[in-house]
């Protein structure tokens, strides 16, 4: 079997790990719906799908972090369950994550054998045996690393190698690589490919998750495509094309209806020129008009959120100018941004959006407190009426305005956050992934409201990783890749294929 790696045909080999009919439901969302996955020894299977397609949920099921609600997992033909991540690891399943989950302050050898250290006399860890074995393992992955080196001194590529050595130390059958190249340089990526080749030769089954098509076609033997928690395709990578994969990823039945928009644009309200940051983004220029919805699409890590945070005054740019209503504007803090009519609705509701143990009205009034004061003192009555005015427009379902935010559902919490920003009466509103993780009904409400905002003359920037949302809502779309704008499309040019290809860098030299 090891030497039957025929590129044209795949032998009817037995999968080492197969998952069938797996479903996983979270409140409001079916993250996985009867999906399957098969991994074969000595082969790389690419798992492909948009954000939210269920890839990460599947990885968590595989590694014992989530328990599936339905479905079967079988390893070497025997049905198994992984009640804990430890159980999955013991069964020989290892995951290497985008950001390695290793321990910076421990040595390389300690990282490799953490929780599994060779024992010597009296049950104590035998340092010498551990180092010797670590050296052997590192040699097997062609890594020139001293086992005594503290992990923090290694680059990301070498950390990956340590993670792989760790995988070998427990004699893994299956190695999961979740976007392993996201933070690597080209040279490091080449080294990773070599390593994957070695793992294949050793008969490991590899699950490779990536958004980059050139990678997938270079190293994968098989592919599996998920969309909206369902499996939509799979097979030998040599029997498909990039276009076909993109089609499978994005082509979906029209189950989401977006509000109709007139798309009447007013005058220019925001102009950004040559906006740059030392490490996160460079040379960003765009304009935004009254009544416009401008979509920002890109892969995770493309620099969209970082750009928006900088426009909102949280981080300082290194170059470039912002013009608001034709006037050059200096924005050094969120307070100044709010005063100039820019607001930012952040992506992470929990961390950045609401103050959980606090009444709804205190959340909503927080950035507008200055307008509700009475003789310089807080005036809860004015705060509550302000809150009522904006939450009613969003149809917030809450028992009372002094109800604590943590008693609300995710969708309603999102409405509290949006009300908070509307209450400052902004001219420009930046929505960062406004519908991430909320149920379909709340999503539609947010979409309708976004359209209404634009219709009322507000300028909207919509940062989203969901292609239908970008295509369905935006008047224009900007695609970012690696911290730069790589494409700008008007309504007519905007197709899912164009967006995916630009974001993944298809057609450009990698």
């Amino acid at each position: 079997m090891n030497h039957s790696d025929n590129n044209r045909q795949i032998e009817p080999a037995q999968p080492v790990l197969s998952l069938t009919g797996i479903s996983k439901v979270f409140p409001g969302v079916k993250a996985l719906n009867q999906v399957s996955l098969e991994l074969y020894p000595g082969e790389v299977t690419a798992l492909v799908g948009e954000n939210g397609a269920g890839k990460s949920t599947m990885v968590k099921v595989l590694t014992g972090i989530y328990q599936p609600d339905e479905g079967q997992i079988s390893l070497d033909g025997n049905a198994v369950i992984f009640p804990t991540s430890n159980a999955a690891a013991t069964a020989g399943i290892t995951a290497i994550h985008q950001e390695t989950v290793l321990f910076d302050e421990l040595s390389v050898a300690e990282n490799i054998f953490l929780g599994n250290a060779p024992k010597g006399r009296f049950g104590l860890i035998s340092t010498n045996t551990m180092k010797r074995k670590a050296r052997e393992l590192l040699h097997r992955v062609n890594a020139d690393i001293d086992p005594d080196t503290p992990l923090r001194e290694l680059g990301i590529a070498n950390k990956h190698l340590v993670a792989v050595a760790r995988a070998l130390s427990v004699d893994s059958k299956v190695v999961i690589m979740d976007e392993p190249t996201a933070a690597l340089s080209l040279k490091e990526i080449e080294e990773l490919y070599t390593l994957i080749g070695q793992l294949k030769q050793q008969g490991k089954a590899i699950l490779f998750i990536s958004h980059k098509f050139d990678e997938i076609f270079r190293i994968a033997d098989r592919y599996t495509v998920y969309r909206d928690g369902q499996m939509v395709g799979g097979g030998s990578i040599h029997e498909t094309t990039q276009d076909e994969l993109v089609q499978m990823m994005v082509g979906r039945p029209v189950d989401q209806v977006f509000p109709a928009r007139k798309g009447l644009l007013g005058k220019e309200v925001l102009r950004v020129t040559g906006y740059s940051h030392p490490t996160e983004f460079a040379d960003i220029s765009f304009t935004l008009h009254q009544g416009e919805i401008l979509g920002f699409y890109g892969l995770v890590g493309a620099g969209r959120t970082e750009l928006m945070q900088s426009l909102f005054g949280i981080t300082k740019p290194s170059a470039g100018d912002i013009y608001i209503d034709g006037q050059q504007a200096d924005i050094n803090s969120p307070k100044q941004a709010i005063a100039k009519g820019i607001v930012y609705v952040p992506e992470d509701r929990g961390k950045q959006g609401t103050i959980q143990n606090t009444p709804i009205f205190q959340n909503v009034s927080l950035p507008s407190l200055a307008n509700t004061l009475k003789r310089k003192l807080l005036n809860p009555k004015a705060e509550i009426s302000l809150t009522r005015k904006y939450t009613e427009r969003l149809e917030l379902r809450a028992a009372a305005m002094d109800q604590h935010v943590n008693k609300l559902s995710g969708g309603n919490q999102q409405k509290v956050v949006i009300s908070k920003w509307l209450a400052t009466q902004p001219g420009i509103i930046i929505l960062d992934e406004p519908t991430k993780g909320i149920d379909i009904g709340s999503k539609a409400a947010v979409h309708h409201f976004t359209a209404e905002l634009a219709a009322s003359g507000m300028a909207v920037i919509l940062v989203s990783s969901e292609i239908p949302e970008i295509v369905g809502m935006s008047d224009r779309a900007i695609v970012m890749r690696d911290g730069r704008i790589c494409l700008e499309l008007n309504k007519q040019q905007m197709t899912p294929q164009a967006l995916v290809q630009a974001a993944a860098g298809i057609g450009n030299a990698a």
């Binding site: 979270f26 409140p27 969302v29 993250a31 799908g49 948009e50 954000n51 939210g52 397609a53 269920g54 890839k55 990460s56 949920t57 989530y66 909102f312 949280i314 803090s333 969120p334 307070k335 941004a337 709010i338 930012y344 952040p346 992470d348 509701r349 929990g350 961390k351 950045q352 959006g353 609401t354 103050i355 959980q356 143990n357 606090t358 009444p359 205190q362 959340n363 927080l366 950035p367 407190l369 200055a370 004061l373 310089k376 003192l377 807080l378 028992a399 009372a400 002094d402 109800q403 604590h404 943590n406 008693k407 609300l408 559902s409 995710g410 919490q413 908070k420 991430k436 993780g437 909320i438």
Partner: protein, 327 residues
């Protein structure tokens, strides 16, 4: 409805205090004589004032371990000024005390804000520094009652409506704090910063500056208490109020101030301080050994924290679920 839940937490504490006082009165009826209760309140007043300062610091997810050292240094400074210039009027000394305390609090705040050092480290350091400064200033000497002017010692003991000025100051600070915390933008920002620093930043609140303000106000109150303490006990030396910062933190915790920040009320803090005050004042009278007192205050702290932890755990559950949906 929410208001009721909050008050009920304080009601539980108030009930506990009443039960405690009743038990003591059963053994020693003299304890509940009005004059004795007033004495007990007066003894607790410094703790109340300091706990209120500590409360706003803890609300912003910080902690100030230097309050007692600040108090002692300020007390020494005003006592030394008083011995040098006996004719200087007391109000000026009080202003000096508040200023000195404010500066020390502001130093804590600046180090936390500008250098981003964890507050527990900052104040552990300044605590030692402030204590050391007392030794340098006084060369280890005590300033005793006979060296202080009469007006200096008389002020906190002066009675208005049968209650000493010290008690009135505690009541006044409490009222001020009720207004400040619930009716000013600054008060609101303490809760916002502690409740969710991330959200506070996006709402245009400067988190570091808010923490700095909390430290500074806390320092000002410690300075004020420094004068009151030294004048009332008519003695100043290096170790006055040694370890008192722990009582102050304990009063806050018993009063329902969440160590994780963002949760707590003025009334709760005052009740927490009174609870500790009753234990410290009454138990010796009833003949309970000082060791049992320590054990009782310790148990009270753990019960209070367990109670708070339980109620906040229930509250966190709703947020986490949407997080799991990341595909």
């Amino acid at each position: 409805m929410i208001q009721k839940i909050i008050t009920s937490r304080e009601m539980i504490l108030a009930t506990a205090i009443v039960i405690l006082v009743c038990c003591i009165a059963y053994v020693f009826p003299g304890f509940i004589a009005p004059a004795n209760l007033a004495d007990a309140f007066n003894d607790t007043s410094p703790l109340i004032i300091l706990a209120l300062g500590q409360m706003i610091v803890i609300l912003t997810r910080c902690i100030d371990l230097s309050v007692a050292a600040n108090l002692a240094l300020t007390g020494m400074i005003v006592a030394m000024i008083n011995t040098q210039f006996p004719t200087l009027p007391v109000p000026i000394l009080i202003v000096i005390a508040i200023l000195a305390g404010t500066v020390m609090g502001a130093i804590n705040g600046l180090l936390t804000w500008k250098l981003d050092i964890p507050p527990i480290v900052v104040t552990l350091g300044t605590m030692t520094i402030y204590r050391g400064l007392i030794f340098l200033l006084s060369e280890g000497q005590w300033i005793n009652a006979h060296e202080m002017s009469d007006s200096f010692k008389a002020f906190p003991r002066h009675e208005i409506l049968h209650l000493p000025v010290l008690s009135w100051i505690a009541i006044g600070v409490t009222l001020l704090f009720i207004v400040m915390v619930s009716r000013t933008p600054l008060g609101r920002s303490f809760y916002a910063v502690g409740g969710n620093p991330g959200a506070a930043v996006y709402a245009g609140i400067d988190v570091g500056r808010t923490q700095f303000m909390a430290f500074t106000l806390c320092g000002a109150l410690a300075g004020l208490t420094g004068y009151l303490w030294v004048a009332r006990y008519a003695v100043a030396y290096v170790d006055i109020a040694g370890g008192f910062e722990l009582d102050v933190v304990a009063a806050c915790v018993i009063g329902g101030i969440s160590i994780a920040g963002g949760i707590g009320t003025v009334i709760g803090t005052v009740l927490g301080a009174i609870f500790l005050g009753v234990i410290k004042n009454a138990l010796p009278v009833v003949g309970i050994s000082p060791f049992a007192q320590l054990a009782i205050s310790g148990a009270a702290i753990i019960i209070a924290v367990a109670f708070n932890a339980k109620s906040s755990r229930q509250k966190g559950r709703l947020i986490l679920k949407p997080q799991e949906l990341k595909g």
